[in-house]
């Protein structure tokens, strides 16, 4: 696991995101916060993790590993595999993604538009790392879950009327989870779906300069026991 102390807000959003993950799913985790998802899954959720550089069955980080280890994830982190893991090449890896066998991609975002467009790969003139496998993950995973702090350092939310940055894929985000709220794309438009008990409707939409539909009845934040 990447070395980093999580804040309580991050724990909160990761735990809520973890409840979007169902038993038996094949899941790809983007770099950053998504890499902390495995330790926040509900108990007895048997999930198979896909690493787009070439395997399924990714296990926990390998503390003895170096960047030269023979098993690294797509971010270059040495890791272990679980029994039943399979290694393959980049062709098979993305055949899994494009062919409909990746149930869930958990990604970070710069921007998510009200129609579910995702921008997370390029800030022109500032950040040009390349899209890697991100476009395929965003466009072809059966469900795209974006997780993010509710507000960035300048107090802005991720949900915007239209993305100003180059798109990773249009109309791809199914769910956005922050430490305050859950948003879901319904009929082509992101809706408020759930609010953390510590927040109200107003703070669940704080920083979001967009007209987000907010149904009267929301999903409970906690799992029903």
């Amino acid at each position: 696991m990447a070395k980093r102390e999580l804040t309580s807000g991050e724990h909160t959003l990761l735990e809520r995101a973890g409840r979007e993950v169902k038993h038996g799913m094949v899941v790809n985790l983007g770099i950053g916060l998504p890499q902390f998802l495995p330790e926040h899954l509900p108990a007895n959720t048997d999930v198979t993790f896909h690493s787009e550089n070439g395997f399924v069955g990714m296990g926990e980080g390998n503390p003895e590993g170096t960047p030269d280890s023979d098993v690294i994830d797509a971010g270059g982190r040495a890791c272990k595999v679980v029994p039943g893991a399979a290694f393959f090449d980049s062709l098979t890896s993305f055949a899994i993604v494009r062919g409909g066998n990746l149930d869930l991609a958990v990604l970070g975002a710069f921007e998510v538009s009200l129609s579910g467009d995702l921008a997370n790969w390029k800030i022109p003139g500032k950040l040009t790392p390349g899209m890697g496998g991100g476009m395929e993950l965003a466009q072809k995973a059966n469900h795209v879950l974006v997780i993010s702090h509710h507000l960035d350092k300048r107090g802005r939310g991720k949900l915007v009327p239209q993305c100003s940055l180059p798109l990773t894929a249009p109309a791809c985000v199914g769910t956005l989870v922050t430490e305050r709220a859950v948003f879901r794309r319904i009929d082509g438009r992101m809706h408020l779906a759930s609010i953390h008990p510590d927040f109200d409707r107003k703070s669940a939409l704080e920083g979001i300069n967009a007209d987000v539909p907010t149904p009267d009845v929301l999903e409970p934040w906690e799992a029903t026991p």
Partner: protein, 227 residues
Amino acid sequence: MLDRGTTVEKAVTSYVRSGQTLMVGGFGRGGVPFTTIKYLADNATDYRNLTLIKNDANEPGIGIDLLLKQGQVKKLIATHIGLNPDFIRQMNDGEIECELIPQGIFAEKIRAGGAGIPAILTDIGLGTEVAHGKATYEMEGKTLLVEPCMRGDVALICADIADNAGNAWWRGSNRNMCVVMGTACDRVIVEAKQIVETGNLKAEDIHLPSVFVDVVVPAGPLPHGEL
């Protein structure tokens, strides 16, 4: 990893329905899911009007010939049917429709279906009757055929070894179309000659990873020892 082991009966009754398109592994006898096919033949009234995608028509009396003979198949998409004179007669008599595709393009169309590639462009078959009626695309002054991908409802394939999670491995020339078919169907039934504990196949040497596979069923003895 999930445990995907089950019985042939449960697998077939769960996933296979009349009217579906089934991809069936095998080239000659290697890779042919004889046990699963036999179940379909033994329950013929429940599995009819099938479209089969299979490299060849097997030999008379074995494999998919059982389904062809019993009238369970409306169409066969294949590359070579020369070892089954009974089916050639059925085809020539118009009993069963047959579409023939060059073998490598047959494999590529299935791969495209599995890999989320809507179509490939190819020059294979240009200047032959294979090109008749096909859409074309001009690229750099050359005419190419547009070959759309193929997908199926259920794949029936026979592996030499599978683990309980569904990872599969093939011996010798048995692999043929099995792996690619296992990527290109909504449901994948792996019939395995040997089933081992999950983790007992070397992760680098797995030919078909478990994420493509729905269930693993044991292969019975080869049904044509008497032939």
